[in-house]
């Protein structure tokens, strides 16, 4: 089928099948995460997921054999263009689609792919990621959750932390220690149902008042042996691949990209003008400096995208993006809160504008940007060592 035909067919199908309500901007609260206890903001959202899932277009480039769309990259590009053209919402947000699926395709057995990929594509199973532990943050490879071979099953004991939405997830993909005598070479990658006896989750209240992350306690959790993905003690390679997926998805999403109040408008309204300029000259200078930094960052993202499209190698820019995206978002929210004055430091109630309350929460939440998915310090280490070739201490 020619691309032109594909485009025409796709456009026609979308025209018929994408409900009008799904062609509006997606608010955070209306995101569809799927899963056994999926909730939908409305029937159109349910319908949209069903229709897209049926065609495998939630995972357009995955093989049709597992329920994916089976599209070639060029076809997928057309599909994405057509979706953007009508402003269609993503039918499904899913760690299964973004993270677990891609590594399963690469490392999983045929049986595993058939077992799990179709449900990911249809949004029937919601996954979460068991990586960090209280004692293993930046130094992830020091993880200690023990996984013992008990003949016909594994027995898992330990604790995971910073598991996004573990309390709402159906299954977990998880790094465990299967050899205590080796560091990186003693890690394996397993998956299990969150209903397995011995799995307990507890949401972590953040400084922003939200609880998107959980602690997960694993006590004598029995995991069937066919739920080991990849080789025994071969989990670190999968982990590294996954971290790359995570960092890319974090920095291209560019923290809180489209969020909320415009800084300059807020400043003009809140601070006022003097001699035609923002009355607070110090704040004005810092806003100008920030906006130029932000713009330089966006131009860099665009340059990298253009170079990547032209077949250039942009590996040296990858750790930069995560670092700079975090810094830019944090600066923006600090300035926004400062611009709003005490009005930007409310917690709740009628005394504050809802946009201002949202800004406060986002500001607090943004402090995690430079920690989650690889701290800024780790990213600077990576730039120094891998990009600039600076030596390790001896």
């Amino acid at each position: 089928m020619s691309l032109e035909t594909f485009r025409r067919d796709t456009r026609a199908w979308l025209e018929t099948n994408c409900p009008a309500a799904m062609r509006t901007a997606l608010d955070e609260k209306e995101v569809v995460w799927g899963g056994r206890n999926a909730s939908f903001p409305n029937d159109d959202a349910r319908l949209w997921l069903e229709r897209m899932g049926e065609r495998g277009w939630t995972a357009p480039t995955w093989p049709a054999a597992y329920g994916g769309g089976g599209l070639a990259p060029a076809e997928n590009a057309v599909l994405q263009e057509e979706l953007r053209r009508i402003g269609a919402r993503a039918p499904l947000w899913s760690f299964g689609l973004w993270m677990f699926g891609p590594v399963l395709l690469e490392f999983g057995s045929e049986a595993q792919k058939h077992a799990w990929l179709p449900d990911i594509i249809r949004g029937r199973i919601r996954w979460c990621q068991g990586y960090s532990e209280p004692g293993a943050g930046s130094d992830l490879a020091s993880l200690a959750t023990r996984c013992e071979d008990r003949g016909d099953h594994f027995l898992v004991n330990g604790q995971k932390i910073w598991t996004s939405y573990a309390d709402k997830a159906d299954w977990m993909f998880c790094l465990v220690r299967t050899d205590t005598t080796a560091k990186h070479a003693g890690i394996s990658f397993i998956v299990f149902d969150m209903r397995t006896p011995g799995v307990e989750t507890r949401p972590i209240a953040l400084i922003s008042g939200e609880s998107p992350f959980c602690e997960t306690f694993l006590t004598d959790v029995r995991v069937p042996k066919d739920q080991l993905v990849g080789q025994l003690n071969g989990g670190w390679e999968i982990a590294k691949r996954l971290l790359t997926h995570e960092r890319q998805s974090i920095s291209t999403a560019a923290f809180g990209g489209g969020v909320g109040l415009d800084l300059v408008t807020a400043a003009q309204q809140s601070v006022g003008l003097m001699c035609g300029q923002l009355a607070d000259g110090d704040l004005r200078v810092r806003i100008a400096a920030f906006r130029m930094q932000e713009r330089a960052f966006h131009l860099t993202v665009r340059r990298a995208q253009a170079e990547a499209r032209a077949g250039g190698n942009i590996d040296h820019l990858a750790p930069l993006f995560k670092y700079a995206a975090a810094s830019v978002n944090q600066q923006r929210l600090e300035l926004l809160v400062e611009t709003l004055g005490l009005g930007g430091l409310g917690w709740e109630g009628d005394g504050f504008h809802p946009d201002a309350l949202r800004a406060t929460r986002h500001w607090l939440r943004s402090k995690g940007n430079s920690i989650e998915g690889g701290t800024s310090e780790i990213n600077l280490n990576v730039v120094a060592k891998r990009v600039l070739g600076l030596p390790d201490p001896t």
Partner: protein, 399 residues
Amino acid sequence: MTRPLTDDQRLLQDSAREFFAERAPVKALRADRAAGRPFDPALWQEIAALGFAGAAVPEAYGGSGMGWRSLGLVLEAAGRTLVASPLLQSALVGVAAIEALGSDAQRAAWLPAIAAGEMTTALGLDEGAHHAPSRIAMRAVREPGGWRLEGQKRFVPDGATASHLLIAALAAPTPGAPESLSVFCVAGSADGLVRKPLAMADSRGMADLDLTAVRVADDAVLGSVGEAATALEGVLDTARIGLAAEMLGAADALFALTLDHLKTRRQFGQPIGAFQSLQHRAARMFVDLELTRSCVLAALDALDDAAGVSTSVRSAAAQGASVASVASVASLASLASLAKARAGDTLHLVSNEAVQLHGGVGMTDAYDAGLYLKRARVLETLYGTAGWHRDRSARLDGY
């Protein structure tokens, strides 16, 4: 200026730190937050009983007469554990306002009550979300035997709980005369006064105030109408300096918490505090803290010196204003801005670094770093941000 602590001051500092660490640690703030109250009234009675509420009140008025620097040390100690008591608004701002503006009768009536912890005050100054003492719209209209207040105040610290509100308003001493800033003492229970508590991110008590035809008698004017404007700047500078002391305490305690984490948290086989980039960041925070400490202490000293000067100037008023006292007023304003700006920048840095250096745990509500972060921004904003004070500092220096 910049005198070492006296033995008495050292003793006071130790006992204040000990008291707050014992009776009002950060977990007391958590308890107040959970209970939905801005602070614990019982704690305030203990604070007053220790003489802290009257630290800056002269002995003649029932205070302990220890001076501003001593009160600053108490505020610093309170800042260490994020105590949100009436200390700042009553013992510092209220006392400063009554001292600077009030008549002898008002001093005699109110200062002992504040020192005893019976009367608490809240200064209603700003009418927007930013500190802007030159943008007051609240009006006081002359009526027979008194004044009628009309207007709004926003984000008044302790505004929902203080027994008395000190309201800055524009008023003319005689009909047709130019209006200038004056301060009125309004009972919290006054007719026409509506107080709307605000739930702030740092759980400290603030309120918006609506004043509709609030009537007060002549003796509610601090001093007399038309004479407050200049002296009010001095009161605000006192507030800024005391606030800077509280901020220094918060920054200092949070830095200690962070250092402790750097020494105990292990990753990659060693305490993370062994990594040189973190060592240098910690060292730079230390430098900032020490520089801030110098500014705060010098500013507190200048307050004590100015108190001395103003007493002597008052008695020598007939000979006209002395050049020295004018210079010292300018330098007090400058020092106040220096202390507030430096404390603001330092607390800003330390609070952000604290969360970052703690990693994930710093993001959790269960850990104290986030409470310091939220309080930090409120304190940074009150009575002028660092940027506002840099700007003021440049103006004071004529550029």
